[in-house]
C-alpha cells in the first residue's frame, strides 16, 4: 500500500467492474463501472439525471461499500475493505451539489476547521491551515459569518475550502455549480481549474456541456455503466449517442448539427463559438 502511495505515476483512481445497489433498489446504481484518473488529470463525468453520477462520487470517496469489484483503488487504498475506505476519505475530497447540506458549523472558519478537528490536528496547525484556506478562497471577510447568511456561491466556496483543508490527492466535484448564478459558477470553476494545476486528480461531474470542454477526458454514464470514455471531441462527434444519453452538445455544436441537417457540414465539428466562427468563415 505504501509502495503504491509513493508512486505518483500510478493512477489516483483505478476502478474496474464495480457494482453498487442501494438498499431496497431493484437495479444496480453502478453496474460494472470502469474508471481511472492520473495525478493532474481533469476528467469530466456526464450523464442524465439518475445515471449514477452522484453514486459514483459516493463510492470513489470511500463513503459507500461496493457490492463487488474486480479492482477498486483510490489513492492506493482498497475501497473493498473498511480500512481502505476510511483511508480513502482522507485522500479523496468530495464536494456535493447542495452547499446548504454540507456546512455543519456555526461560522465559516469553524466549518473549514471541521475536517482537521476530526483528524485530531493540533489547534495551532488547524489555525494556520484555516487561515491559508480563508486567504486562498477569498473568505477572510466572511470568516465569522453564519452559513445561512452566505450567498450560494459563498457557501459553495466555504464548502470547497472545508473539503480541501484536509490535504487531498484527488477531488470529486458533484455538480458544484448547478445551484449557483453565473458569478458563483465562475468562482467555483476558477477554483477547480487551479486544483488541476496543483497536480490533484479532479473528477468533475456536471450537466453543463460547456464546462466539459476544458476537461482532459470525459466519461459518460448510462444506467450505472460507462458508455464512453475518451477525448471530449470524440464524445460530441457522436450526436446520436449524446442524444441517447439525455445530454446535449455545447451551443456551438448544436448549431453545427442543425447546419449539417441542412447540408452544410463543418469539419471538424466546432464546439466553441471561436471554432464555429472560424469554420463558418473558412467555409465561405
Amino acid at each position: 500500500m505504501s509502495a503504491l502511495a509513493s508512486d505518483t505515476a500510478l493512477p489516483l483512481l483505478d476502478i474496474a467492474g464495480l457494482h453498487y445497489r442501494y438498499p431496497g433498489a431493484r437495479a444496480d446504481a453502478l453496474a460494472g463501472l470502469e474508471l481511472s484518473i492520473a495525478p493532474g488529470e481533469f476528467v469530466a463525468v456526464v450523464g442524465a439525471n439518475g445515471s449514477g453520477k452522484s453514486t459514483l462520487a459516493r463510492l470513489v470517496g470511500g463513503l459507500e461499500k461496493p457490492a463487488a469489484a474486480r479492482r477498486a483503488w483510490a489513492c492506493g487504498h482498497d475501497l473493498l475493505t473498511e480500512d481502505g475506505r476510511l483511508e480513502a476519505r482522507r485522500d479523496v475530497g468530495v464536494l456535493f451539489q447542495n452547499p446548504e447540506n454540507q456546512l455543519v458549523a456555526e461560522c465559516v472558519e469553524d466549518d473549514i476547521a471541521f475536517g482537521l478537528e476530526n483528524l485530531g490536528w493540533d489547534p495551532a496547525a488547524i489555525r494556520a491551515r484555516v487561515d491559508e484556506m480563508l486567504a486562498r478562497f477569498h473568505l477572510q471577510d466572511l470568516q465569522f459569518r453564519e452559513p445561512h447568511l452566505l450567498s450560494g456561491g459563498q457557501k459553495q466556496r466555504t464548502a470547497l475550502a472545508g473539503v480541501l483543508a484536509i490535504p487531498r490527492r484527488a477531488l470529486v466535484l458533484d455538480e458544484p455549480t448547478a445551484m449557483l448564478d453565473p458569478a458563483g459558477r465562475a468562482e467555483v470553476l476558477a477554483a477547480a481549474a487551479r486544483l488541476r494545476d496543483e497536480g490533484l486528480g479532479v473528477l468533475y461531474i456536471t450537466q453543463e456541456m460547456d464546462e466539459v470542454l476544458d476537461a482532459d477526458r470525459v466519461v459518460a454514464l448510462e444506467r450505472g455503466s460507462v458508455v464512453y470514455a475518451g477525448g471530449v471531441t470524440g464524445l460530441f462527434e457522436q450526436p446520436e449517442l449524446v442524444r441517447r444519453l439525455g445530454l446535449g452538445l455545447p451551443p456551438a455544436g448544436e448549431l453545427a448539427l442543425e447546419l449539417a441537417h441542412r447540408g452544410r457540414r463543418l469539419e471538424p465539428l466546432p464546439l466553441s463559438v471561436d471554432a464555429l466562427v472560424a469554420a463558418l468563415e473558412t467555409g465561405r
Binding site: A105, E109, D122
Partner: protein
C-alpha cells in the same frame, strides 16, 4: 425568522472572552443561590450583580429586550397568580379575588426573582456562541461518558440542530407560500381546520429534512467524521485569569447574597 431564544451577540467584551465552562458554572450556582435565598435583600444583591454583568457585556439593551420579551407573559402570570391566590389577611375582596399585602409582596418577589434569573441567563447566551456553549457543556458532562453517554456526539448534534434552525424556518415559509399560491389559506377556519391545513406543510418539510440529514451525514463522513473519534478543536476551551476572577466574584456575590 429569529428563534425566540436569547441569541448570541458577537462582541469582544471581557465576558465574551471568558471560558464558556466558567460562565456556565457561575450562572448555574447563581441561579441555585437565587432560589435558596428568599429575601428582598438577597435578591437585591443578585440583581445588582446581574446589572453589573449586563453592563460589562456590552450588549445593547434592545437585544436583552428581544430575549426577554417572550418570557414576559410568564412573569405576568407569576405575578397574577400570587396576587390573586396567595394567603394572608385580605384588605380588598371581590368575588373570588382577595388582595392581601402578603400576597402583593410575594408576587413582587417572585416575579422580580424571575426577571433576575432571565437577566443572568441571557448574559450567558448573549455573550457565548452556541457552539462554545455546547462544547463547554460537553466538557462539563464528561463524567457521564463513563456511563456511556456520548456527550461529545450530543454536543455536535445540538450545534448542528442550532445551525439548521434558520434553514428550516426559511424552508417552512417557502412550503407555505407554495401552497398559498395554490389557494391554501392557513389563517381561515377553526383550530381543527388550521391544524389539518398544516399536514401538507409538514410532509415536505419532513421529507426534505430526512434527505438533508442523509446528505449532511455523507458530507461529514467525507470530511473524516466518525462517531466516537477523538476530535481536536480550532478553538480549544481555555480557562485563564479572567475565569478565576469570575468564579471568585461569583463566590463573593453568593456569600453576600446569602448573608445580607
Amino acid at each position: 425568522m429569529k428563534a425566540a431564544i436569547a441569541q448570541y451577540y458577537p462582541g469582544h467584551s471581557p465576558l465574551h472572552r471568558l471560558d464558556p465552562r466558567s460562565k456556565f458554572v457561575a450562572v448555574s450556582v447563581l441561579a441555585v443561590a437565587l432560589f435558596v435565598r428568599d429575601s428582598f435583600a438577597g435578591l437585591a444583591v443578585f440583581a445588582a450583580a446581574a446589572v453589573v454583568a449586563y453592563a460589562l457585556s456590552g450588549v445593547p439593551a434592545s437585544w436583552f429586550w428581544r430575549a426577554f420579551r417572550p418570557l414576559l407573559w410568564l412573569v405576568g402570570l407569576t405575578f397574577l397568580a400570587q396576587v390573586l391566590f396567595a394567603p394572608g389577611e385580605p384588605f380588598f375582596s371581590v368575588w373570588i379575588i382577595h388582595l392581601s399585602w402578603r400576597g402583593l409582596e410575594l408576587a413582587a418577589f417572585l416575579s422580580l426573582r424571575l426577571v433576575v434569573l432571565v437577566l443572568i441567563g441571557s448574559v450567558l447566551t448573549l455573550t457565548t456562541p452556541p457552539m462554545a456553549l455546547t462544547d463547554g457543556l460537553a466538557w462539563l458532562g464528561r463524567p457521564l461518558r463513563r456511563l456511556h453517554v456520548p456527550t461529545d456526539e450530543l454536543a455536535l448534534m445540538v450545534t448542528i440542530a442550532l445551525r439548521f434552525i434558520p434553514t428550516l424556518l426559511v424552508e417552512m415559509d417557502q412550503i407555505m407560500r407554495a401552497q398559498r399560491a395554490r389557494g391554501a389559506d392557513f389563517r381561515r377556519g377553526g383550530l381543527r381546520e388550521r391544524a389539518k391545513a398544516l399536514v401538507p406543510v409538514l410532509i415536505p418539510l419532513f421529507v426534505l429534512s430526512f434527505r438533508r440529514a442523509d446528505e449532511l451525514a455523507l458530507a461529514m463522513e467525507a470530511r473524516c467524521y466518525r462517531p466516537g473519534i477523538v476530535r481536536t478543536r480550532l478553538h480549544p476551551l481555555r480557562a485563564g485569569a479572567g475565569d478565576a476572577v469570575l468564579l471568585a466574584m461569583t463566590a463573593a456575590v453568593i456569600t453576600a447574597g446569602l448573608l445580607v
